[in-house]
Amino acid sequence: MPAIINIRKLQRAAVLAATVLAFWVIALVMRNTDAAGASALEARVQKLEDESQIRYLLVEYGHLMDTGDRVGTLKLFTKDATWSGRIGTAKGPKAILEMWAKFLGNRPYDPKDVKSFYLMSNALIRVDGDRATALSKWTLFAKSPDSKLYTQVAGHFDDVFVRDGDQWKFQSRGAWRDISPDCWADGAAVPCK
């Protein structure tokens, strides 16, 4: 008399099921390991790219200011960014531009008669997700009336950056003078004591 359940068929099905299950488990483990590894690596590469872009931004600011392109400089800022320095604090590109025009005057750029330039250095960049902070130094080199090169002023920048789409922008920049031939009191340059 035949058995109701064919024991051999049952064994066969069990082995097949076990095989399929084993592959699933292996695939699942591999997939998770791969995905976790790839996304961890992606995050590390992203951080290096972020640092590179912020480094570029720090230098680009100097380049645009040196070539007299203040409107271009302010395109590196977010719409509600602040700029602070000894001449005051302003919020938003329009207000910053007005403050610069008022206190710094207009300095048209002539490539055959360069008056000064920023040397940028000592960038300390800390990236944290979509936000970053940086400290860096600036030294302003200038041309004397007898056409000699000299170091005029030095200071530091204290910055906050945010990611705006796939670009980094200044959210705030503090542009501080550290060593300067003049000092600042009541909104005007005075001799240093």
Binding site: A27, V114, L149
Partner: protein
């Protein structure tokens, strides 16, 4: 005694399970990386930037130490140097121009007269080609041996990958302070 399972049937099942696992894998891959270049290309660009940064600084070192053999090899076969000394094209011509121009100011490590400070790198890479702006400031001695900045200007470069190495295809040296008209 017959085997519990025939090996062919088992193999078919295993292949089917593996294929299923792989196809599911493709579906669940993170979509966030999809709009960016492949990771390998992104890493390569970062490496390119590091190599170009090295090239820019090595130029200053080779020049300051008057190592013009090394200096001229930083240029591509068709690489051109343009500046106050004129224009030279190709490593051999650049080597000749520099040996001639600097023969009266040799390098002495115990009595360094000048050096280049290379800063403000703006590196833009596009595949095997890059355009770079940067600044140079030459420091030297006053008559009483004090350190002072003498000259400053900028470099306007096109840099290309040649046989796996980044080299200058064109370097234009511009004097800004004091200006130089040529």
């Amino acid at each position: 005694m017959t085997t519990i399972i025939d090996i062919e049937q088992w193999f078919k099942c295993a292949v089917a399970a593996a294929a299923l696992a792989i196809s599911t894998d493709a579906i669940v891959l993170p979509a966030s990386a999809a709009d960016k270049p492949p990771l390998e290309a992104r890493v390569r660009k970062l490496e390119d930037e590091a190599q170009i940064r090295h090239l820019l600084v090595e130029y200053g070192d080779a020049l300051d130490t008057r190592d013009f053999a090394r200096y001229s090899q930083l240029f591509a076969k068709e690489g051109a140097w343009t500046g106050s000394l004129g224009t030279a094209k190709g490593p051999a011509a650049i080597l000749a121009l520099m040996l001639k121009s600097f023969k009266d100011s040799p390098y002495d490590p115990k009595n360094v007269k000048t050096f280049h400070l290379d800063t403000n790198f703006l590196i833009r890479i596009d595949g095997d080609r890059a355009t770079v702006l940067s600044k140079w400031t030459v420091f030297g001695r006053t008559q009483d041996n004090k350190l002072e900045p003498h000259l400053a200007g900028h470099y306007d470069d096109t840099i290309v990958r040649e046989n796996g190495q980044w080299k200058f295809l064109s370097r234009v040296t511009v004097n800004d302070i004091p200006p130089l008209n040529y």
